[in-house]
């Protein structure tokens, strides 16, 4: 967030939420994590970034969220509210599911009643009804991620950042959460920047797939995903899906070598 957000942002479907121009990030030790990254995301766009480990995917997210700053170029974040779902659910172990979901609303100074309501709605949305009083240790990995997702949803973000959120989950849970996230995306119409190392997940989830290469991290290829928003698991077994996944995979290998 090197540039301040404009005073009167136009937030509606299609509004620009993120604009990176020639963004680079060099760490103090000299490592170039990102170089020449151009990226725009509008509301209603689901952009997925695939790339090998250590290619700067997470740095991209950290810059978008303001946790890190670009060392060159402009990273303009026009979203008013940002949701960030970490690799780890990062739930506070001493808080119940409901209290965890309420945390961000609390931090943003929302009123008690608004906080309660937002948390209830979000818990309903991610399908955690009936688990509100449980502590995180009593939840499965998938349920923890749902709680983490619900926590961000309470803020009704324009821009959602996902840092390999389902990487640690088993395949069935992961695919189910993929579908639920698509459903949320369709319902809410936020802009999303989703990091993953799974090509299949990338193609399945997004409206656009970016392929990154490592050291220095740069975007080497971009694919528009032609499938509509009504995606079902069967999509993964269609020839069109396989073809696109193949192309993304190929680009990934090209960039990697």
């Amino acid at each position: 967030m090197s540039a301040p957000a404009p005073a009167t942002p136009s937030v509606g479907t299609g509004a620009r939420v993120l604009e990176f121009t020639d963004v680079a990030r060099q760490f103090p030790d000299g490592t170039v994590a990102l170089e020449g990254v151009d990226l725009t995301i509008d509301r209603g766009e689901f952009v997925t970034v695939v790339g090998p480990s250590g290619c700067g995917k997470s740095t991209l997210l950290r810059i978008a969220s303001g946790l890190d700053a670009a060392s060159a170029g402009t990273a303009r974040v026009e979203a008013q509210r940002i949701g960030y779902v970490f690799q780890d659910a990062t739930l506070l172990p001493w808080r119940s599911v409901r209290k965890n979901v309420e945390l961000l609303a609390e931090l943003h100074g929302m009123s008690k009643t608004a906080t309660h309501q937002a948390a209830l709605d979000a818990i309903e949305l991610v399908g955690l009804r009936g688990h509100e009083k449980k502590l995180p240790r009593a939840l499965s990995g998938g349920m923890k991620m749902r709680a983490s997702l619900a926590r961000s949803l309470t803020l009704d973000p324009d821009l959602f950042l996902f840092d390999e959120p389902f990487g640690a989950l088993d395949e069935i849970t992961r695919e189910r959460l993929n579908d639920e996230l698509i459903r949320l995306f369709v319902a809410k119409g936020f802009g999303a920047l989703f990091i993953t190392h799974s090509v299949s997940e990338a193609v399945y989830m997004s409206t656009r797939v970016l392929v990154m290469s490592g050291r220095p991290g740069r975007v080497v290829d971009s694919f528009e995903v032609p499938f509509g928003t009504d995606r079902t698991p069967e999509l993964r077994f269609t020839p069109e899906f396989a073809k696109l996944a193949g192309e993304v995979s190929h680009a990934l290998r090209e960039g990697h070598s």
Partner: protein, 304 residues
């Protein structure tokens, strides 16, 4: 491909051969013999869990009796009076218990006053250090000094400055009990998960919010571990202060000193047992409190 194929097949062939060879024994182990030893071992463990402590305790009492009646001359048995005389000559003797129970009460007051002050000062000290590296590097050496300087060396000075009454006893307690609270609270606050910190940074949580909603709750298990150590030390502080100052209303320390100088073996041993019981009670009180506060969410197994 041709090079890797033989390498890949040999291990699977090997496992196939060994599995067919061992399958009858493996089955037998799985169905017949295996569960029995497991159950036996578990029951055995439970029995050992009870039998062994009782045996050890009985053995210690036995050794005690042996020393009293076999080693010591009748005239020197006050050095180690037989266990039952603690009851007959102390617990059931009103002239003794009229001294011990009020002394116990006074020592309890000193212990808890010292502990409470140590908790307040220690936590504030640690919180101040957690908020800035500069504060930490200016204040931590004194916490360490508190731990390294033998407090006993300072006890005369404390009496010299603050008199030999209640306040001095409490100050000794505080000085002895302070360090574990400071170091554990600081350690707890500094071990907060980085991801949690980033979550709070991302949502622009202020210093105070971060402390209240993240750092202190996350540090609670460590803080309670500190309380537990300090609780025991606080009892030591109460006794030491009392033992040294020897003035004013007697606590357990003065009684210990009096009984020993009058060679009253049974009352002395009885008072020692009472003092030990106080230490245990305070330690377990904080163990119980810790379980109550953080037991539901804190995974103790990480600690063991």
């Amino acid at each position: 491909m041709t090079a890797t194929l033989p390498g890949q097949t040999t291990p699977s062939e090997e496992t196939a051969v060994t599995s067919t060879l061992e399958s009858p024994t493996a089955e037998a182990v799985a169905t017949g013999t295996a569960p029995a030893p497991v159950v036996r071992r578990r029951r055995g463990r439970r029995a050992v869990g009870l039998v062994l402590p009782v045996t050890v305790f009985a053995a210690l009492i036995g050794v005690w009796y042996a020393i009293t009646y076999l080693v010591l001359d009748p005239g020197r048995r006050f050095l180690m009076p037989a266990p039952h005389t603690l009851i007959t000559d102390a617990l059931l003797d009103p002239t003794i218990t009229d001294k011990v129970w009020p002394a116990l009460g006074r020592s309890i007051v000193v212990t808890f006053a010292g502990l409470a002050i140590a908790i307040v000062i220690g936590m504030l000290w640690a919180i101040a250090m957690s908020q800035s590296k500069a504060v930490e590097s200016s204040l931590y050496p004194y916490a360490v000094a508190l731990q390294c300087i033998p407090i006993l060396a300072l006890v005369p000075l404390i009496g010299f400055w603050f008199g030999f009454g209640f306040p001095s006893r409490v100050i000794v307690c505080v000085m002895i009990a302070l360090f574990p609270i400071v170091s554990n609270t600081l350690f707890g606050i500094q071990s907060v998960d980085r991801g949690h910190h980033e979550l709070f940074t991302l949502h622009r949580a202020g210093r105070f919010t971060r402390l209240l909603k993240l750092q202190l709750p996350a540090a609670l298990p460590a803080i309670f571990a500190g309380f537990r150590i300090s609780a025991g030390l606080s009892v030591v502080g109460a006794i030491v202060g009392d033992l040294f100052f020897k003035q004013g209303e007697p606590g357990l320390g003065i009684l210990l000193s009096n009984f020993s100088s009058r060679l009253q073996g049974a009352p002395l041993f009885f008072t020692i047992v009472v003092t030990a019981a106080l230490g245990f009670a305070v330690f377990f009180l904080f163990g119980w409190l810790s379980k109550l506060v953080v037991g539901s969410w804190y995974d103790q197994s990480r600690d063991r």
